[in-house]
Amino acid sequence: MKKKAQIIAPELYPQMVSKSDAAKISRALRASETLAKGTQVVQDVGAQLREGVRDYVRELEEAIGDHKITAAKAHEIRGFAETVGLKATGRIADGLCRYFEEIEKLGAEPDTAVVALHISAIVRAAHAEDEASRMSDVVVKELAALVQHKLSETKAHLES
């Protein structure tokens, strides 16, 4: 028979801040001024970080044909493009990552055309002046629809 688990209450191990400070700090962390300050910080480092995203985008473009590297680079881009204001870039990269995840679950090979279309859209979005425009929204939706269609096609093919 397995031994029962031992529970160690928070009072019995060292905490990050004292109990008396905890409520005040927690309120301060959730305060609108703190969030505004954080948002400002993201804007301040945004230009530098957007260049970082574009470096990944260049590497993504160079990796066309190698799905493993493509997936890794798309993953990096989705990780922080949106945070630094490249919303469409992040969303398209997210769509590509999800496609790779779903196709892996199915045990199938990614469709080269689907990957290439995403990469092309990411490259354009990352360098567009109006990155988060309505047009970008349309591209994101169209690519999502394409992914759905291709995944259904792959599933049907695997079941037949």
Binding site: K2, K3, K4, A5, Q6, I7, I8, A9, P10, Y13, P14, Q15, M16, V17, S18, D21, A22, A23, K24, I25, S26, R27, A28, L29, R30, T34, L35, K37, G38, T39, Q40, V41, V42, D44, V45, Q48, L49, G52, V53, H75, E76, R78, G79, F80, A81, E82, T83, V84, G90, C97, E101
Partner: protein
């Protein structure tokens, strides 16, 4: 200023993406945290922790040669660990259910999905400060309590010393 209590904290960022490290450092600076250390992967982070007792770790999941899960297990289970109770926030773009469960089972305190925002990061910090979790030590696990809520109709099995005590209190 309540956040001044953060000035004394030592934080370790474990992340292989340099840009993400810049972002996290900037966000932590903005809430008053001054002493921030960085490592590019789990092995380098363990080296930092040999010399330094940190109060909080923000760690990426996918890194080489040691990823965030293995790093977390080292912190929680290794006899060499300086502070096995250290809060660990796992930050990752890999949000599939099996990865979240793997992070939970490795012993992370909070899980934060990328892309991060000031709001998402500060909320996780507030959660750790406000509601520190009990730790569980069992034959197969050591880390923060993975039961976030009590299941009203849970019929057992009862695996904890205080389970019946809890029931008695209810």
């Amino acid at each position: 200023m309540p956040l001044s209590a953060f000035e004394a904290l030592k934080v370790l960022i474990v992340e292989d993406n340099q840009h993400m490290r810049v972002l996290l450092r900037s966000l932590l600076n903005s809430i008053g945290i001054r002493e921030i250390h960085e490592a590019g992967n789990g092995v380098a982070a363990l080296d930092v922790l040999k010399e330094l007792k940190c109060d909080l770790v923000l760690s990426d999941l996918a890194m080489k040669p040691m990823d965030g899960l293995e790093f977390t297990r080292e912190i929680r289970l290794s006899k060499r660990s300086i502070n096995p109770f250290m809060p660990i926030i796992m930050i990752t773009g890999h949000t599939e259910k099996h990865r979240v469960e793997a992070a939970r089972d490795a012993g992370v305190t909070e899980f934060l999905a990328k892309p991060i925002t000031p709001h998402s990061l500060y909320s996780r910090l507030a959660e750790i400060v406000e509601r520190p979790r009990a730790f569980v030590r069992s034959e197969s696990y050591f880390g923060p309590d993975r039961r976030r809520k009590a299941l009203e109709h849970y019929a057992g099995p009862w695996r904890r010393h205080d389970d019946f005590q809890d029931l008695a209190i209810q």
